[in-house]
Amino acid sequence: MKKTLLLTLLVLALMTLGLGTIAAQDDLVVVRYPITSDPASLEPGLVKELYSAEIALSLHAGLFTYDADTNVVPYMVKEYTVSDDGLVYTFTLYDNILWHNGRPVVAADFKAGWERYLDANVGAQSAGVPWADVGGGPEMFAGEADELTGVQALDDTTLEVTLIQPSNTFLQNLAVPITWVVPEEAVVAGSPEWVDGPVGAGPFKFVEWTPNVSLVLEANDDFFLGRPSVDRIEYLVVPDANTALAQYEAGELDIVAVPPAALQRVSEDAVLSEQLAYFTRAQLRYAGMNQDMFEPFKDARVREAFNHAIDMNVIVTQLLNNAWTPPTGLVPPHIPQYNPDLAAFTYDPALAQQLLADAGYPGGEGFPVLELATLDTTQAEAVAAMLNANLGITVEIVQPERGDMIDGLWAGDRWQFFLFGWTADTPSASVWTYELLYCDLDSNFSNYCNPEVDAAIDQARTTLDVAESTSYWQQAESLAMADAAVIPMGYARFIYLVNPAVEGFVANLFGPIGFAGVSKSS
């Protein structure tokens, strides 16, 4: 018996031979940071999800960026001027910026890089939108022109951009990675591929990417704003949130996002609660009522009844442990056009029943069975239970896989009722009020249409005066809320546990702002 056991152990031990041992890196300052999936691309212009955007902030740099307070600030740009008519922007770049391959960054790199992103074959997700106001931009994206004529490199450090019409959002566009460029020689022309390995100009350089395992970056000694304090960042792919949390608690990770289910335990833990960091996030969680897929949703009274029958407070505080903040409307706080006077619907089952009865379904009688599509069943089960208890409606829950869910939303003909989140890529009410509510827009997943709301949105979008534009946005939002266009569920937050040795880890409204300003004591 002993012999068998010994032999077994010996055989098994032999089979692990050749498996690495962790190399001692005592002299290096390493931050280990989990991501739930590999980045879709390491090219900034091809960013399409949270992680490629986050990683782009470490690997790349652009003309402008968003700071910790989500303000647009110059990055590679030393100074800039705008002509009086708001059409001509002249940017002066720092003259000491190097690509990771050693070549200096010149103004012409931006012209070439942007022309690349306007080639549909490259497949940039931005789809030409950031250059819609730039001379030659629309023509080039349509394949009718070969040059982005509105952009000219006057010399190595001077870039001149001429717009077709004045724009409030042009500098905002330059502050997100989708307009950040890479050196022409590092990528395959007309194709979303690197020639060799990723090359950027950001605070960290590419070292190694092992798909499904990790992406490793190291400090860029030549970074034009000074070498970062951290030597290495290891983005570890950890798909399971509970695993990541356990790894953090065992000291295997330096930072971890806290899943809502674990939030109560973490915040009641004497040690862990000290390491919690909350950041505001520009994301609306909402329940959409697809009017094309479910006839009763065309009646505003039904939509109102739904709004009054769901207790957001219970969902946010009891089920999500305050991982979200309760909703006030559609536009999250901290967005310039946020309306502090707006209030979400009150929880009022009696009123809800009355409204549903007025709409012709007393006690839920005759109301068809409704299908609720969601990626997270906990909230969905609460919503289903509340609608059932308060309105007598039967709600069945469908949990499609993520790609399917999103595909169905864009197609607009799959989900009757859905729980989803809508996240900002610019700090503007346009993200929610326009994208989610404007008639016939693809991203208007509810197929909601109200000419009054549209009229206000049109005014808001075309008005250059900021204060005036804001009042139109707020007007559109108020009208839509009064019409119960969607069911706002809450505003999500970024919630992290951060190793006390790590300092300077910050997220703005869009997410963590990268590791350039992060330090770690040993």
């Binding site: 089979m15 690495g20 962790i22 549909a120 356990a246």
Partner: protein, 309 residues
Amino acid sequence: MSGYLFRRIAFILFSLLGATFLAFAASRLAPGDPVRLMAGEQNVAPEVIEAWKVRYGLDQPIPVQYLYYVRNVLQGDFGTSYQYIGMPVMDLIGPAVLVTLRWESIALVGAIIIAFFLGMIAAVRHNTWVDTGAMFIALFGISLPDFVLATFLVLIFSLGLKWLPVAGYETPAHLVLPVITLAVHPCALISRIVRASMLEVINQDYMRTARAKGVSERVIITKHGLRNAMLPVLTVVGVIVGRILAGSFIVETIFNIPGVGRVGVTAVLQRDYPVILGATIILATAFLITTLIVDLLYGVLDPRVRVID
């Protein structure tokens, strides 16, 4: 024999073709537009959709797409991932297969050795407390879902006692918990089969004869019993190999092992068809070769089974 081998290899190729065709057809008939799935949460401009359809050959009729696919695979080109832009499928799957082969073979070898041990003891001491005890251990393994077992193992050994790392694929210590989690189920399964087969063999007439002739129990068990128990066990092991090859997604996810189970299922959830197809082909090939070996061993172990097929 070489004629037999030739036929078997022909069958393997046929099965591969059948399996790929099924997977290919399913992937093309599934709801959802791959190009839109590639885009993630963004809406894509029609210009980009058209360009990418051409780029990935999705503008062709499905049978043509299949022919192209087969041709490319024969040339060693499995295409590029839809999810990770420009990433060759084999760069994703190749290393993952090696990882899976390694850690799972450790689990399987361990499971088989321990299972034989448990099963034999249970059979020899049939209907005693030893039998009940051994089978209870086996049942315990079968009755616990692997993600429950994994969660409790991490809770106790990593977070509680701090003996072992929580997750990752770095050192041998990282493999202890996943190997235990994965081995428990096959071990339970095999030990039960060993026990059942041994019992059958022990009560065969020729065994009684051997015993009557005064051959010692030890010799009977090892020489006759074991040899004959091998047959059904072999079938089961063959199946388990195939099953755990692709079925260890849960363990690989919880312990964060970059194996092919995790890669494959992630690809399914992301509708990354080139990766799904690549994984199917690789796993199917590995499985078919295992089956061939098992069948050949069948003939070796039991001369009465003619290699006819």
